[in-house]
């Protein structure tokens, strides 16, 4: 589960990671109040207005603005809230912004140089251990840094038996060429950040940039946080941070039925049992000249009720021109699934797209007979390649 920047920062703050002071606002009026309050508590003369959506690259799309007076705070907030923010990481049509974070400006002038770094904590799948990845080049797309200057990316792997050691945190600070108070603050920053990551069952805490301010304080200026869905049961406080408005409405509805659905942009809907077969089915749709409209894994127990719910979800997408059902019956009997499809067809009015059904495995032959004799507009197949051909035919009609 992805968190908003302001939510990620609230977790960081709890663990003693310094973040710029910030207040969430949902209107220009609230933004002005927030700006005044931030001035009162931090003395900040400027403010940053930051759109809160689940996507990176917000600055590029005009979703992050530096306001030099309260009038600008009001103006920028008014402009950003309600806009469809388009960034390299959003869908092409962008994401609607409904709230902004008004934040203290930490690029204030002072005795030492301001510097920007990159620090993230994540799982190293190769070793099965967590690692801290960091770079003295901050505030830029880290993949671009990795491409151009791979020697500027460092990692510190954490032994799960002993946790992050002091020398490792110091090595981070040394490699970032810090000294004095900045060095000490960075060591504490790294240790607190790692603790926040571990305690919240996160799979990613990416801070880009980490700022060394002109008074040697270290700040998490941004926070991209992903929490392990499988661990949410032990973090009810984080689970309730889920923002349904950030998710596709069809996906939200599918999750209510406990269906594993991901909306895509194609024209052929699909319903499959098992995640690997579901992905393979999407790939096959593409090879037959279509484009998958979704990923949908109905799970190991594809009974009649789930099949019907699956159809209802797929049909909510107006782009769907055909539906491919691909079930490999194991413990699940194909004839039962076929009956489920027939029931769903009868229960849902006006299914007016062709349905191609491929049932293989337990009782596949019986299932095909059931479907062929049902009188419904269902085209059935048993072999995978036949299903692909039928999809292609349906699209070219």
């Amino acid at each position: 589960m992805d968190l908003h920047e302001f939510q990620g920062k609230s977790i960081l703050k709890k663990y003693g990671v310094s973040v710029p002071e910030g207040i969430l606002a949902e209107s220009p009026e609230q933004a002005v109040e927030a700006a005044k309050h931030l001035h009162a508590i931090t003395g900040t003369k400027f403010w940053v207005v930051k759109a809160q959506i689940h996507a990176g690259g917000r600055g590029k799309g005009g979703g992050v603005k530096l306001a030099k007076n309260v009038r600008e705070v009001e103006k920028f907030t008014d402009k950003i809230i309600g806009m469809n923010l388009i960034t390299p990481q959003t869908p092409p049509e962008g994401k609607k912004v409904s709230k902004v974070l008004i934040q203290q400006d930490v690029f204030y002038p002072g005795p030492s140089d301001i510097r920007e770094f990159y620090i993230s904590v994540l799982l190293n799948r190769k070793t099965g251990r967590n690692m801290i990845m960091y770079s003295p080049i901050g505030g830029m797309d880290i993949e671009a840094v990795a491409e151009k200057t791979p020697d500027q990316i460092f990692t510190e792997e954490i032994d799960p038996r002993y946790g992050l050691q002091g020398f490792q945190a110091r090595r981070v600070a040394f490699n970032l060429s810090l000294e004095g108070d900045a060095f000490k603050n960075m060591v504490k920053f790294v240790q607190s950040l790692y603790k926040a990551y571990l305690d919240s069952d996160a799979t990613l805490f990416e801070i880009n940039p980490v700022l060394k301010a002109s008074d040697d304080k270290i700040f998490a200026v941004d926070a991209k946080v992903t929490i392990d869905n499988n661990a949410l049961y032990r973090h009810p406080d984080i689970a309730q941070m889920r923002d349904l408005a950030e998710e596709d409405p069809i996906e939200v509805e599918a999750s209510r039925y406990d269906l594993n659905y991901v909306k895509l942009n194609g024209n052929v809907g699909c319903m499959v049992n098992g995640a690997g077969l579901a992905m393979a089915t999407m790939d096959m749709i593409k090879m037959s000249g279509g484009d998958p409209a979704n990923f949908l894994d109905v799970g190991g127990t594809a009974n009649a009720k789930r099949v019907e719910e699956g159809f209802r979800i797929i049909l909510k997408d107006p782009n769907v021109k055909a539906i491919l059902v691909n079930i490999f019956g194991g413990i699940v009997r194909c004839d039962r699934v076929a009956q489920g499809i027939i029931d769903a067809y009868n229960n849902i009015d006006n299914i007016n797209v062709p349905i191609i059904v491929r049932l293989q495995g337990t009782n596949a032959e019986e299932a095909k007979i059931l479907l062929d004799e049902s009188g419904l507009e269902v085209r059935s197949a048993i072999a995978l390649e036949d299903a692909a051909r039928l999809v292609n035919e349906a699209l070219s009609e």
Binding site: Q89, L123, R125, K126, G128, R129, N130, E143, D159, P160, R161, L198, D201, T203, D228, N229, N230, A231, Y233, R234, N260, V262, L264, G266, V272, N273, G274, A275, G276, L277, A278, M279, A280, M282, D283, M284, I285, K286, M287, D291, P292, F295, D297, G300, F328, G329, G330, I331, Q360, G361, T362, A383, L384, E385, A388
Partner: protein
Amino acid sequence: MSVLVDKHSKVIVQGFTGNEGAFHSSQMIVYGTNIVGGVTPGKGGQTHLNRPVFNTVADAVKEVGADVSVIFVPPAFAADAIMEAADAGIKLIVCITEGIPTKDMIIVKEYLKDKNSRLIGPNCPGIITPGEAKIGIMPGFIHSPGCVGIISRSGTLTYEAVDQLTKAGLGQTTAIGIGGDPIIGTTIKEALELFMKDPKTKGIVMIGEIGGTMEAEAAHYYKANCTKPVVGFIAGATAPKGRTMGHAGAIIGGKDDTAEAKKQIMRECGIHVVDSPADIGRKMAELLNA
């Protein structure tokens, strides 16, 4: 011959008396798997499916000589169950459970380092040596004894490959579902090594998906060490970046873990990659009959 399991494997079930555990245990028994008992803490001394129930894995090892354990314990307790099995000296631990937190699996992976146990899974269909032992949730009847080893990160996609190989008359030595999570016990490369050493295995099917670097690692190993033909398939060519596709481990993070990148590395290393899952059986038949 086969790898890891055969008719002599003495199998216990952790989570024996729960819904899932009980259902699949009876299916495994019907298949002919040598299920020698089960473990449900607090129910030790009872009998279930005509087999003894033990309080601990250690008791099951001591009393009935169990050497394989299959785990159907709910996600919150599954990591603990794996470590208990390893502590009791179980040689092969097959964890079916889906949804174990990654943080728990990091601990498990570390715990297993100095134990004598191999873990398969979690979040997998299990392992089967056709005609001898079915340890997991796969439909037994689609398998047939034969000469192809299968390694797969997915469940139903494995069944697809199995079915094609059975229909092609090739059959399987052993099929291993290694699991769809970011951290799993046995990697593709390790499974590949096992099949390379098995004299009866003539060819290997390797089914991967987006996310992680396991396929690339296996491909490099293959290039340096392997002689038997391998047919590969990678699911997720059409998956969008940054979205989890059902399996917790199936997510594209960077350019190296896309389906395209993996297929390319596999091809460069001499693996016969098919673009359609429908071609797996046909391609293997072509290679073995050539």
